[in-house]
């Protein structure tokens, strides 16, 4: 029998704020244990929560970027459970009135090849709500140690519809969602730091069936690759169970990305009876049109929209756009340089960035915002090459020097003697005439139709110019003389 997988993802994203979501003690990562707490975080008697305005701005921004409807009024609820990660014995969350409803995430499925754009589709969202993160438990042999630094960090829960059908699709969803959050400055989404966490709900059903199968929740998917691998593994496991005549049970499973295996998570915790009720300590949030339009004005162009614009405006090939648009700073850098040289030379600029700048940045372990190569200098380099003022072989050397020194390419070309020979001098034409005169055999072959024979004439010309002649111009001059 053929089965179809149905996948929904619950993604938690920490909002990058200075202070916590219901109190003003600093939020952060990597601090010594229990140094980011205050009486509210520790739920000491008599404390009251106060909302963080920036966290609300951030979730509204996330919602608007993903096309959600922003609820005119939303409220806070207590999710009651007894567990040491939450000193209050409840988590402040949003139950029946989330701030963002609906929306979707645009994804790109893998193409037929790396350089071919894949099919695009939109994965619908159910909701996004804001809640507080909980403390971190560190488990040892017989006891657990609790650090409350993370408790109270603003946390968005982004819930997709069960609308994905493969591990690749889930991977594409997470990649796109993560990029959107980073673009919006909402979160750094570093999964190693727990800033983005993902749980997957997975079921299978016979192809054609409309009823959902038994759902398994997969936890601890702590890298984007593990999400893909874990889901692929779980789909295979479920198919195998059904094929040997077994039955699936609703359960939570823990995926071990290193081993590529999963096991049922038998937790001592909770019967899931959270007894939600409205938090009496917090007043509702009312979002009016003015607030929404102010945030709307802060929303950046998203990667896929940028990619479509780069296709149209700059006629860039897919391979360049698929590198440039996923990094907002890199895309901005590209556009700054193109603004100077004009859209006609956009592809040359893109090639320099994708091939050379990224290679050097990678080797130096620095980001594009820190590079010594200014967009203006890259633009100048592209113009010098285009004008034939420097040799393309010399250009690589000039670029590496630009990266190391922040000097202008023209200054480097002068210093290193990498200027091309003057293009309009009679010298080049004379060298070409000499080469033709001295290589009768190659000339005859060329005239007989063997195009590559022209290469035998280029060597002597380049030699006569001491390597400074522009190869393109040498080629053009030779062809002109041979044709006459």
């Amino acid at each position: 029998m053929n089965y179809e997988a149905v996948i929904g993802l619950e993604v938690h994203v920490q909002v990058k704020t200075n202070s916590k979501v219901f109190t003003r003690v600093a939020a952060g990562y990597g601090q010594p244990p229990n140094t980011l707490t205050d009486p509210v975080v520790l739920a000491l008697p008599g404390t009251l929560p106060v909302m963080n305005k920036a966290a609300l701005d951030a979730i509204i921004k996330a919602g608007l970027m993903l096309g959600c409807e922003i609820a005119p009024v939303c409220k806070w609820d207590r999710k009651n459970y007894f567990y040491p990660d939450s000193p209050k014995n409840y988590q402040i969350s949003q139950y029946d009135q989330p701030i963002c409803v609906g929306g979707s995430v645009e994804i790109e499925l893998p193409g037929a090849a790396r350089n071919v754009m894949g099919e695009h589709r939109r994965v619908p969202l159910a909701r996004i709500h804001l809640e507080e993160d909980v403390g971190k438990l560190n488990h040892f042999a017989t006891e657990s140690l609790v650090d409350y630094n993370r408790a109270g960090t603003p946390l968005m829960e982004i819930v997709s519809d069960p609308a994905m059908h493969s591990a690749e699709e889930a991977y594409a969803y997470l990649t796109s969602l993560r990029a959107t959050m980073i673009y919006g400055g909402i979160s750094d989404c570093d999964m190693e730091k727990g800033q983005l966490r993902c749980d997957a709900n997975i079921s299978i059903r016979p192809v054609g069936e409309t009823k959902l199968g038994t759902k398994v929740e997969l936890k601890n998917l702590n890298s984007i690759s593990f999400v893909r691998d874990g889901i692929a593994h779980e789909i295979k496991r479920q198919v195998a169970v059904l094929e040997r005549g077994g039955a699936l049970v609703q359960e939570t499973r823990d995926y071990d990305g290193q081993a590529g295996t999963s096991q049922s998570l038998r937790s001592k915790e909770m019967a899931h009876d959270y007894r939600y009720f409205p938090d009496p300590d917090l007043m509702p949030v009312k979002v009016d049109d003015a607030w929404k339009s102010r945030i709307k004005g802060e929303c950046p162009e998203l990667p896929f929209a940028k990619q479509r614009r780069f296709f149209e405006t700059y006629q860039l090939p897919y391979t360049l756009t698929s590198v440039l648009v996923w990094d907002r700073e890199l895309a901005d850098y590209f556009e700054s340089a193109v603004k100077i040289v004009g859209t006609g030379k956009a592809q040359a600029v893109g090639n320099w960035i994708v091939n050379d700048l990224l290679r050097e940045l990678g080797q130096a372990h620095v980001g594009v915002t820190e590079t010594k190569v200014s967009p203006a200098h890259l633009a100048e380099l592209v113009e010098l090459i285009d004008a034939g003022a420097i040799l393309s072989s010399g250009a690589k050397e000039i670029f590496i020097e630009m990266f190391a020194t922040s000097d202008a390419p023209s200054a480097i070309a002068d210093r290193k003697g990498l200027r091309a020979a003057a293009t309009d001098s009679g010298e080049l034409e004379q060298w070409c005439r000499d080469a033709i005169a001295a290589n009768a055999k190659a000339v005859a072959e060329f005239k007989a139709g063997k195009d590559s024979a022209i290469n035998a004439l280029k060597g002597p010309v380049m030699k006569a110019s001491k390597g400074k002649a522009d190869p393109k111009l040498v080629d053009a001059t030779l062809r002109r003389l041979l044709a006459s």
Binding site: N18, A26, P39, N138, L145, D273, K286
Partner: protein
């Protein structure tokens, strides 16, 4: 004293991580039952046309700007912890 029909004392005790004796169960069932019966009186009030709310005041958007301030030292934060190690609270192991 009477037990409310929808009160499951075993379930409530489990959620609260309380191990109750049979005697305690009887006592708390009766007491919580009284509370629930008391609350039930509210169901008799005619609330036609009254918008549901969790608050008595029509206030919204009570917040503070996102300006961080320093909090408690680890020593102060852990002062009430019965057991601590490496500046963390030690609790019984909570997953198997």
């Amino acid at each position: 004293m009477s037990t409310a029909p929808d009160l499951d004392i075993e379930h409530v005790a489990k959620l609260a991580r309380l191990a109750l004796t049979a005697e305690e169960k009887a006592t708390f069932s009766a007491q919580l039952g009284d509370v629930l019966h008391h609350i039930e009186q509210l169901a008799k009030v005619d609330v036609t046309g009254v918008e549901p709310t969790a608050h008595a005041f029509p206030l919204v958007n009570v917040w503070a700007e996102d300006v961080a301030r320093s909090g408690l030292s680890a020593e102060a934060a852990l002062r009430n912890a019965p057991v601590q190690r490496d500046h963390m609270v030690v609790v019984p192991k909570v997953v198997e």
